[in-house]
Every structure is written in structure tokens, then in C-alpha cells.
């Protein structure tokens, strides 16, 4: 059954904006290139955009990177379906995020600047002298990123569905626009590297701000003010669900939900900057203080996200019907449908294009980040230790294609809920790299093997706990990301309880291994590395002068 008509005006606007953005993506290859660098033949150039983005470009890049299409689709969807705990937690999440990155990310920038690190796994390898720990961080990063890219496609798919493209009858035709969009994305990422999403992010973010500001002013006026919107949300969320005998959702969290609410916010905030794509955007900035300045100005996006979340409640009042192609209710269509129902087609087109383009920016950065991790921490560390920068860039470009094809197959071949479950697990897994990365920025106290075992314990515990959460309606596994701490009634985000277990295991084993006098790895960093800024020379440069003053140079034993 194909119950949707194609909305031509909106579709034309979306296609036009998409073409504009694609052209920008290809042109970006020549953007901000220094004259002496010929082509994008190193990871610094291709994978980090030349490591030269200033405060504003970084602001757009990080904004485009962290606030993804899936966020725009899923957060209001959660508000519409289940209310504050699973939806509005995104607001405290993105509030506490920035003080946290203010504290930790400038140190990661400094040590990466000194040593030429491209990924967080590079840093872990250099800090602990352990390529196995580095491998653990890299594999976690890549595995957690894949479903995240797949979810960006889910975001595009939501837009295409409400535009009337595709039918449930012909699978190939349904997915054709999606495949086309991704081929274009893959092509300009391949040629332009990180410069492409950086440039496109500016357009995407401006469109999103425009769409949200207009919607937040216009829609409440249309529906009789926030008062009526909130009261209809309260009614809907308070209605008892026949299947479970419990209210459909949470309007204002009660005491029983407090621990879920704060642990979801805190765990997500700590996890976000462990993802490779966030680190990539930070390391692409040109100065130690760029990320700190951004910590003070990025909250503007959080404000936008908060109002966007409230559009989920607006949709309740508006009676939006998010019906998917097969006739089932799909909450993820709520926001695209809301725009299409209540705005002129041309403006709905702009808003839908903003969401679709919003998928392209993070998808590009994520595939670049995952590719960099593969190149540095698997290919270089385990396959070809003597690889030169040119080959590194070549490998990374190819891997970025592989990663995207993988995500595309994921979305087309598997059930959409598989991608969502994997993303849920990815968030739990990625937080387990926090002790190795963040503790390493401050201290070498932890033992590398203790960290590795702690990581493994956290991952196993988190995976089992998430599997055991049963959806009360469908009785399916992976029914949510919150579970009671074993032996208590205290429900928290599984990533947080796994993280606590991980930390305890790592600390206890560090004491044990120290008592057993197990060899610790070589630390290639110095305390000064963590406070270096852009005017301080890199290690390679210092080394050169040392070679000059000491004939023969120091022995290259490491």
C-alpha cells in the first residue's frame, strides 16, 4: 500500500538544496589549503582538514557533528511517544557536556598537537606503550560508530518517507534515493576529506536554526500557546496503556525516575566525546583554546535542541499522525510530518532539507574518523608499521568508503530496529574507553592491562544487561538503556553502571599487577605535552634540533 502522495514543491526544494550542498562538498577540497601542500596526501590534510579550523568553523563543525539528523528525528519522537525521561534528558545531557569537554579536551588537543596524534587510540598507544589497549579503543570506536552512521540514514529515510518517495511494494525503488544520496556523500568525502563536512555544516546549521526558530515561534501561536500544548501532552502521557497497565509516558519525572534521568544525561555526556567523530572535530581545530571557547558557545545548539524536543509535544497537540509506508505508527516521522502538515510546502522543504543535510555532515565525519582509526591503530600498528603519510591517507580514503557501504547495507538489509539496538549498545561500549583515554590525560597511575581487563568487563556486563532489558509491549530484548543496578532497585543508565564496574576492576587490578611487579609500558609523553599550545613546537621539531646539537642523535630505542 502506498498511502502517500509525493509533495512536489517540498521535494524540489530538498533536491535543490542537496545539489548545492554536494557541489560545495566537492569544491571544499580546495578550501583553506596552504599553497605549499600539494593535494590531500596525509591524514592531517585529508582526515583533519589541515588541523587549522578556527573558533567559528569548529563551532559549525562540532554543532553539525554532534547534533545529528537522528537527534533531530529521535529526540522529538521520544518526547511524542514516551515523554520527558527518554526525550528531554537530552537537554541536561547537552548542558553538562560542555563543562566536561572544557576540562578534558584541551589536554587531549595539546598532547595530540605535540605528537601528531590523529585519534584517541593514538594517544592511548603513546601514553601506555600498549598497542593492544590502543586496539581496544580503536575497535570500540569503529564498532560504535558504524550503527551511528546507519542511524543517519534512518534520519534521511524519515524525510524521504514523508515526502512520499518510495513504496512498501518495491524495496529497490524505496531505497534508491537513499543509495544515490550516499554515493554522492561517499564521493565528496573521498575527494575532500574533513573539509567537505566542515563547509556543509555551515549551511546545514543555518537551515536548522531557521527551521527551529520559525517553528517554535509560529506553531505555539497557531495552537493556542504553550499552555494548551503542555496540557494535551500531559493528558496523552498520563493515559494508561492497555498492554502494560502503566501510563504511556512521563510528563514530569517523579522520584522513581530521578536516577534514570541524571544517569542518562551524565553517561551520554561522558560518552559523546569518546566517539571518534567528536575527537576528530576537536583535533581539527587549530589551537588549544579553540575547544574551550567552543565549550562556551556551543550551548546555543542545546537551546535549539531543547525547543526541537518540545516540538514533540506540539505534535501531540497538533494531532500529527506519523504513519509509515506499511501503515504502522513510526514516531520518528513526527517532526518531518509536523513541518509538512503546518507549513507551506516550500518552507517544509527547507526544514526537511535541513534534516537530510543534517545526516550528511555527521555521516561524513564519522566515516572519516572510523577510517583514521583503522589506518592508524590497526593498519599501521599491526600490519605495516613503516607506512608513510601518503599511504595512510590512501588507506583512510578507501576505508571511509567501506565504512559507508557497510552502514548502507546495515540499513537496507536489516531491520531498522537492529540499527537502533546497535546504537544503544554502541553508547554503552564507547563509555568503556573513558578510563583509558581520560584518566590517561591526567595520570599514568592505571596499569595498561588492568585498563584492558576493566574495558572487557564493562563491555560484557553492559551488553548482557542491555540484552536483558525487555520491552514491556513487544517483549523484545534490548528494550531500553536503563536497568536496575544488580541487587538493588536503583535504576540507572547501563553505560554508567558498566563504567563504574570497569573503573573498580581497573583500579583493583592495577594494585594487584603493581604488587606482582608486572612491567609497565613506555610512556612517550611528558607532563609539558599536556599543556602545550599551538605556538609550542611539536616533538618532531624538537627532535630535529636535538639531532643537530648531538651528532648521531639519541638512540631511537622505544
Amino acid at each position: 500500500m502506498n498511502g502517500r502522495e509525493i509533495n512536489w514543491t517540498a521535494l524540489v526544494i530538498v533536491v535543490l538544496l542537496f545539489v548545492v550542498v554536494a557541489i560545495m562538498g566537492f569544491l571544499a577540497a580546495r578550501w583553506r589549503r596552504s599553497s605549499e601542500v600539494e593535494g590531500l596526501h596525509s591524514l592531517d590534510e585529508w582526515g583533519l582538514g589541515g588541523r587549522g579550523f578556527g573558533t567559528w568553523i569548529t563551532w559549525f563543525l562540532l554543532g553539525g557533528d554532534l547534533y545529528t539528523a537522528y537527534t533531530f528525528v529521535a529526540v522529538p519522537a521520544a518526547m511524542w511517544a514516551t515523554g520527558a525521561v527518554s526525550g528531554f534528558f537530552a537537554v541536561p545531557y547537552t548542558i553538562v557536556l560542555y563543562p566536561i569537554i572544557f576540562i578534558i579536551m584541551s589536554r587531549l588537543w595539546s598532547v595530540s598537537h605535540r605528537h601528531g596524534y590523529v585519534t584517541s587510540a593514538d594517544f592511548v598507544g603513546g601514553r601506555y606503550g600498549s598497542r593492544w589497549l590502543s586496539l581496544a579503543v580503536a575497535v570500540t570506536g569503529i564498532v560504535a560508530t558504524m550503527p551511528y552512521i546507519a542511524l543517519q540514514l534512518v534520519g534521511i529515510k524519515a524525510v524521504l518517507t514523508v515526502l512520499g518517495l518510495g513504496s512498501s511494494g518495491n524495496v529497490f525503488l524505496t531505497d534508491l534515493p537513499l543509495i544515490l544520496a550516499f554515493v554522492v556523500l561517499a564521493a565528496y568525502t573521498y575527494t575532500s576529506g574533513l573539509r567537505a563536512p566542515a563547509m556543509i555544516a555551515v549551511v546545514k546549521d543555518l537551515l536548522i536554526y531557521l527551521a527551529v526558530i520559525v517553528a517554535v515561534i509560529y506553531l505555539p501561536i497557531k495552537f493556542g500557546g504553550w499552555d494548551t500544548i503542555f496540557s494535551s501532552a500531559q493528558t496523552k502521557l498520563g493515559t494508561v496503556n492497555q498492554a502494560t497497565g502503566k501510563p504511556a509516558g512521563v510528563f514530569i519525572p517523579g522520584a522513581a525516575n530521578y536516577s534514570a534521568y541524571w544517569s542518562l544525561a551524565l553517561g551520554s555526556a561522558m560518552a559523546l566525546f569518546m566517539y571518534p567523530h567528536s575527537v576528530t572535530a576537536v583535533l581539527a581545530s587549530k589551537a588549544r583554546n579553540t575547544i574551550r571557547r567552543n565549550a562556551a558557545i556551543l550551548p546555543l545548539y542545546s537551546l535549539m535542541l531543547g525547543f526541537l524536543a518540545l516540538l514533540g509535544f506540539v505534535a501531540i497537540k497538533a494531532g500529527t499522525k506519523p504513519i509509515d509506508l506499511d501503515g504502522s505508527v513510526n514516531p520518528q516521522l513526527v517532526v518531518p510530518q509536523l513541518f509538512l502538515d503546518h507549513f507551506p510546502a516550500w518552507f517544509a522543504g527547507i526544514a526537511l532539507a535541513a534534516i537530510a543535510i543534517g545526516a550528511l555532515v555527521p555521516a561524513a565525519i564519522m566515516s572519516i574518523a572510523a577510517a583514521n582509526m583503522f589506518t592508524r591503530n590497526i593498519y599501521r600498528d599491526f600490519i605495516r608499521p613503516d607506512v608513510d603519510p601518503r599511504t595512510e591517507a590512501k588507506v583512510s580514503k578507501i576505508v571511509s568508503l567501506v565504512v559507508k557501504v557497510g552502514a548502507l547495507v546495515f540499513v537496507i538489509a536489516m531491520d531498522q530496529s537492529a540499527a537502533i539496538n546497535m546504537q544503544l549498545l554502541g553508547g554503552i561500549w564507547i563509555l568503556q574507553t573513558f578510563p583509558a583515554v581520560v584518566a590517561g590525560l591526567y595520570t599514568r597511575w592505571f596499569d595498561r592491562w588492568a585498563l584492558l581487563i576493566g574495558w572487557a568487563v564493562g563491555i560484557v556486563f553492559g551488553t548482557i544487561s542491555a540484552y536483558n532489558v525487555i520491552n514491556p509491549v513487544t517483549k523484545a530484548h534490548f528494550g531500553g538503556s536503563v536497568a536496575p543496578i544488580p541487587g538493588t532497585e536503583f535504576s540507572v543508565y547501563i553505560a554508567v553502571s558498566a563504567f563504574a564496574l570497569n573503573l573498580v576492576v581497573a583500579a583493583v587490578l592495577t594494585l594487584v599487577l603493581r604488587a606482582l611487579k608486572v612491567r609497565t609500558g613506555k610512556d612517550l609523553t611528558r607532563p609539558t605535552d599536556y599543556e602545550a599550545d599551538e605556538t609550542d613546537p611539536k616533538v618532531v621539531q624538537i627532535e630535529k634540533t636535538q639531532h643537530f646539537t648531538q651528532p648521531g642523535g639519541p638512540s631511537p630505542v622505544a
Binding site: A255, R292, T528, T549, P554
Partner: protein, 125 residues
Amino acid sequence: MSHADGSGYSPNGDAFPEESRLTRDTAIRGPARPAPYIGAGILLAAAILLPLMPQLYSFDAPRLAGMPFFYWYQLLWVPISAILTGTAYWLVTREDRRRRAEVRAGGPPRAGTASADTGLGGDRP
């Protein structure tokens, strides 16, 4: 270890060259004064902890323009958090600048030790 990016080198940490050459261990900042860091720490701790305490704000009343307290209070925290982080930035970078200036004024001249594109000792943008 396999770090082809040139980080596989460690200087003989105990044997500093007599002349004022730049080494991996040359201090790049002077000693810290604790006050700015304590101040920034308090601001950042507040910006992290207070939004994570739903018991402080999980109420319906008072409403603002029809919006329950729970919602508008958290939205209000976005600019508050930005101000707290911005103030912490001001405190920390001011002290940071002072510490670097201290080393650069009293320390060895550092020009000529790196490639031409690294302007040493200059003001940051």
C-alpha cells in the same frame, strides 16, 4: 612500539644540555597560582552537578507562559551553563597567558628552534 610519526623518541631525561636548548622537558609555563583554577573548578562543578539533580527542579509549578517549571528551568540552564563555562574560560586563559609570559620573558630565547611556520613566543590570536 610502532609509532611512525616520530614520537618513538625519548630524550635522556637526566642529561640536560648545558646550553639553553629546547628539550622535551623544557617548562612551557611558569608555576600556577591556585586561585584561578579553584575558581574555574567551582564554576564548572556547579555547571555539571546542578543540572543533574532532578530533585531540585522536577515540578510542574510555577509555570512560565504555560511551560511547566521542569521544562523552562532546564532551558534556562543552557545560558547559565554557557556563562559559567565562559567565566571559567576567562579565568583559566588569563592565568595561562601569565604563566606562559613568565617563562618566555625569563627563559631562553626560543626562536629558530622550529620550522618557520611556528611563530614562537608571539601573542596568540
